[in-house]
Point group: D3
Chain length 327, copies 6
């Protein structure tokens, strides 16, 4: 169990602490003014990251620990230029049973069980029994189901936290339920099936055991094609299953990125695929916008200043609500 | 007043009729097998278009009437190759007081007054008094208001019918009211102001007296910049008016096409501009999709066939609902 | 059985013939000089297309036959403006057992069995037993195998003829065997597996029963994703199968179009994927070039003239060999 | 008043000086070898930028001064690694009345009054009285006129100095007067009106009080649409004003960037708009070229070397004249 | 010699005429109402094009004459549907010595000798003796010189008439002389050398003996690379010639299209290359604009209407001067 | 002569050595903890690069030596943080006759004479005597021939080593000989001529005396146009030479980059140009892939990790062979 978190540092100034961290960075540096080397490290948990220094006897630590692993350390907290840091005397690899993943990773603000229950209630209400069977086959799958409830939605961008995928899917499902009635061309059960399964391939595209990363399969196949293959396997297991629904569901998954250059091998051709793709894109944009607004405010930007340039959107953003509230 | 409409032809086969039409096409052709020329015409009203022929004495008609004008004609209805046509004996220009525009142009399926009332009720409920004043200044403007209730939304594409602009705006406002609660970064009054005013420049970009067309100002300035200028004039007249709101409203108008290559001089930077642009684009896409689905069905396409290639979207579309209903 | 082919017309001038054709075009037209309508038709078989006219008693034929069907006709051959045509007195739908597909469709110049044998010999020589099992599972599949030996490679472009897919695959395999030794980074068995399976999805993307066309699944899923799903199913059936090989084979299929805008959801990342994509593209280009050179020559272009503009390559082409031979 | 300028440093080596600067950069750094922090600063005036260090007693200075403000400092000039720097003992904010903007900002090499007089003489010679009234209404406007004579033409790129906008406009007007006679399709008064007003929106898009920056309105509306609104307001005030001229002037302003992706909502359609856009682009390119040639020479590049890569033009540039002169 | 021109038809109604034409179109057509074929032809000379019909005895004419050749015809002028046409009784190929090219091709409005003299006067005034030698070597070349004075500047677009190349070059040289003084970075002799030689490759890229067309070398090498090779050959013949001037002249030629996608292998890097490319582009645009304005007016467009869509510029154009003159 | 190479450092730890190097980097730095400056240098030869420090008496060395020159140095080898470095006591410029280029530059793994012999044997076997004459005229040219055998193929990317151009050309020729038989449209002698000459312009585009760089002619004309000019000169000298071959060879050179945006003024139109361009591109890609795989392995990447992002190909790469070998 973890006794000390990064966020606890102020209460432990000058104290010696022992705790577990994810070793998120490590490099050898030369001491200023000569006289040899020291180890500069970054130690992370779900509450933040702490700079660490190890001035002596670090040869073993350096050769046995590596970035992305859990470590157990002992050291003294101090404050330097207004920031807390820790000077280590010991560091070793942590055994798997010594740590709990939950202590080290950012987690959704919403409990996974609650989100899962809310999502299931929506699925159970489907009128189309085949689509209901299909979606539940995913949610109840002993491997896919639990992974779906835990996986982040991305490595670094939107919803990059534990259960972020479920959080993103649920938000998308809810906004789609609100929008669908305005477009009578849309079959709502089909649309929601697409929404729930569109990113299901991320449970194999990403790994989140210690830190968040892409799997090799993720890099070489991608979550779109992984998901299409998963649907195909499930449909095989659910036979007889209407061929028309299979094609329409696969089409939504393949086309949901909306453009070839974003990795979709097909463009949205049906009302459901078009609506899903548009609202998924909007969710992603607002997710980025939230992150940028929070970042700008915490970086001390004033209400009448735009955010920094947002490369993924090729523009600066502006928090109109904050500006109007100021008046 | 107009006694005979294109749609009435079946009931008048072989009868001689007299009526008013919009002359939507006219050309001289050579008679097959030689022997001189005849006049081939297209006569339109709000119910459709009828092919017409004038075999003799057409010199006056040809030199005095021109495409896009109203004409009064006399002729006999006949059926040829399964289609009705009319053989004219007389045609002359119609005087302005002889015709009512409403008889000749496609019109929204929803009464303009009802749509106007629904929109006003939404505006009256704004919490922000300044935005309410601004929007009402447009709706109550003795020139802009009536034009806004009559204008089409386009020359040929989406909502190309009388009161199509109002219909488009009201649909957009309603879907935005449903979506806005999911995005707490959005100021709803500001968003709806943008939705109501984003296309207001079309009242000067388009002309719809007889047929629908672009004005010269529309071609050289465009509805985006026309609308921005109209807002600026109204704000001058409503002084004092909060400068911040003016900038945010102008920004929504300028950026609502979402991309530079679609004629927006700025990209959406605020939550309201981003949401408005996304949902406006979705409305346009579903409008196109509806038109294509109806066209494919009336052209005899089967449920398992895609539409023809849709150039504006660079793809074929597919009516999933019709296909599923068939099973 | 079919007694008379389009190419036989010169020997039958003025004779009355009876035969089967694919009805590749049909429309009603007005007789010149008035006096009613006639039926203008196009009748095709594997040797070409013949214009047909039906001047009387065509009501039944018109309402019961449709484009893309086989018909039985009776009529008289004549020559008009230097081209042969046929004036029909009878036309009715042909029953399935009256026609043989092979009479109506262009066919590869190489016998399918010989090509199949040549390909199998190459597969049997694979050193990698897993890849050999995988490829043979496709070739021996009771549904996929026969379809693979008959399918065209495209609707209208390269190798648009019966067994064109097999012809294209075999040609690609042979050139890859010649090139692979120059690139030692490449695993040859893996490369050839990719070459044999890269277009296997076309057996479901295309239909070729009467004429060549896209299936609905082909339009909405596409042969790339169809093929990826087929590999996934086969691998399930062949368990245990090395996961690494599965990923590398899927990657080759997904990336073989080489660019996102050509519908590949991934770009080639491995030596095999890169070489396959490049040589497949080269095969397609030379196939186009052959078609264009033949077309230009048969259209009477001289040796020092370029072909017409080739839209798919955005340029004119030039037959250097023909030009040099002329000197 | 300012006694000491950055460019005076060589004459004051080792002397203690007191002066005012614009604080263009400030950050806390750790002393090498440990032992606490120091303040690293950049002090600028119109003659250049001087690095400064403050080793002690900087807490007050750090908390009260901020980047972009004017400061009063005291310190000793020294030379370090061949460059002059200053070690500060005091720094405080300067009061508004202690400084003159002109001391701190780069200024056009041409006196604003002379440029203004030259421009006015050209306007006064207009044959078209309406266009003359329009342009003079801007030049004589008590707010716009003075701002137009002082504003820079950009934040960092071309003519980024006080009165740079006027300098750019005058240069453009003069070259247009030389070119116009070669294009008889062009109405010269109209062309020159466009040239004088095309960038007038920059007086609100930019701020130049201490340093040069974008205003929020500049970022969200942009100088093109700001200018269009300004013309519309002036035209309202000048009624009656010919509607045709208003449309043609607005069109030139809206289209002068020449491409959608450069933020022009319309492409140049008239001879005047086309010529204005082309020559404005050429002015910008030569302005960049001048800056790059000067930069390359001062960086010690030899005459047979190209400049560094110029990102805005996607190429290296080459000073042909300098190279030829060398021979 | 040619006695009758297309433009003379009104004065010869119903007369029988004999004359020479360029056979610009020929096709066999079926007579309306059946009864065999006739020959439909287009006959052109420098004054326009005349429709022709040959109803009988056309077998020889059809097999021996071909499009692009000169023919001698006899026939009767008549008026049909308001347009003149000619009914031929005889047509045969014309011998080379029977026709003069000048009778059949559009020609510049300016005499070639005058333009040549004006250009030479400018060259003779060069201060740089080497550049003067280089340019004169082209103008005095016994093959290149005469071709340069006769060649059109394009097949169909700008200056597509005899001596159009010289006309374009002279116009460009004159506007460059007016503009150059505003850009002191520019070496004027070097700039004018580039202007005179930039399109010199067109003398080999185009053929203009009967009609205007591309040569095979033109299609496969292009006028840019042809010109570069011509300069290289001339420089070899003029040794010693300064290497620096050779590189700078070649660079101007290679880069004058300004963009890679327009076939320039290099982008303009020197002041001269940049100015040449910009003004050459402007000349081309105004040339298109003149053609479009004239076309719109002769097609009966009103002053307040834009031209048709101009594909090469992706926009409609508008003749502002004509519109203003109307008021 | 050079006694000590960078790769010899381990055997000379703590010894004082004297040797020649290419000075590949030099900068003044401040000593840590204050106390003045020192000189930080990089010394290179064909075996690698060694970091050097000069703590005292470096004023002369600094002012007389410059990057890219050869230097003679004396100093002591030591090991610091696991890496060897050298502390200099002397450094001066080396005279030209003191060094041999071959000691300092990376060199092809294949002897130039052997590659040259292999290439010549292929040329001598040409059936086309004219193409044989043309190619030999280049290989036997007293200036071009030797340069072609020594030149690198690029400054930093593929085959950036001495004789890299010849190595690249020979590899391309060999793979083309293997591929050509599959494309009967191709004239093999013509194809190989294109392969041998396509990059011949690099002998003037690059300089490789000490380090590899672009010449000014290379930057302003480019190797494509330089090569085209060289062919034109050789053809002049070989008259009579078939014009058709000249055009086809020039076309291959001009089009071999395959796209306008890569600097080709023409796209490949002939079978030979198309095949050459495709296989040249493949060679370049595999060259990059080899470099990236080697780099990833030496950077400690594991077999299941992709390479870093490869900007020139816009993707990560993956060494499938290494991964499969690991199993």
């Amino acid at each position: 169990m973890k006794d000390f978190y990064v966020a606890d540092a102020p209460r432990f100034e000058n104290a010696v602490v022992t705790s577990f961290f994810c070793l998120s960075g490590m490099s050898l540096r030369e001491k200023k003014g000569g006289g040899g080397q020291y180890l500069a490290l970054s130690l992370s948990d779900k509450t933040g990251t702490l700079e660490a220094r190890m001035w002596e006897e670090f040869a073993d630590a350096f050769s046995t620990c590596s970035e992305g692993c859990y470590v157990k350390v002992q050291g003294q907290i101090s404050k330097y230029n207004g920031k807390f840091q820790i000077t280590l005397t010991k560091m070793r690899n942590a055994a798997e049973n010594e740590v709990e993943t939950a202590d080290f990773q950012p987690v959704s603000a919403f409990p996974a069980e609650e989100m899962d229950a809310e999502l299931r209630a929506i699925v159970v209400a489907f009128k189309d029994e085949d689509l209901k069977r299909l979606v539940l086959a995913f949610l109840d799958d002993p491997e896919i189901g639990p992974a779906f409830r835990v996986a982040p939605a991305a490595k670094v961008l939107h919803h990059a936290w534990i259960s972020g995928l479920l959080e993103h899917v649920l938000a998308l499902v809810k906004v789609l339920k609100a929008v669908a009635p305005f477009y009578p061309e849309v079959n709502e059960d089909l649309l929601l099936t697409g929404a729930i399964l569109h990113d299901i391939g991320k449970v194999k595209e990403l790994s989140w055991k210690t830190n968040f990363n892409y799997t090799l399969e993720g890099q070489m196949i991608g979550h779109i094609s992984i998901a299409q293959g998963m649907v195909r396997e499930k449909v095989l297991a659910l036979q007889p299953f209407p061929e028309r629904l299979r094609i329409l569901v696969e089409h939504m998954i393949l086309s949901h990125h909306g453009k070839y250059e974003f990795g979709s091998p097909k463009l949205p051709m049906t009302p459901e695929a078009m609506l899903l793709s548009a609202m998924d894109d909007l969710e992603a944009k607002f997710s980025a916008l939230r992150r940028e607004f929070a970042g700008a405010e915490s970086a001390g930007k004033k209400a009448n200043e735009t955010t920094e340039w947002v490369r993924s959107m090729d523009r600066n953003l502006f928090d109109s609500k904050r500006w109007l509230a100021e008046e």
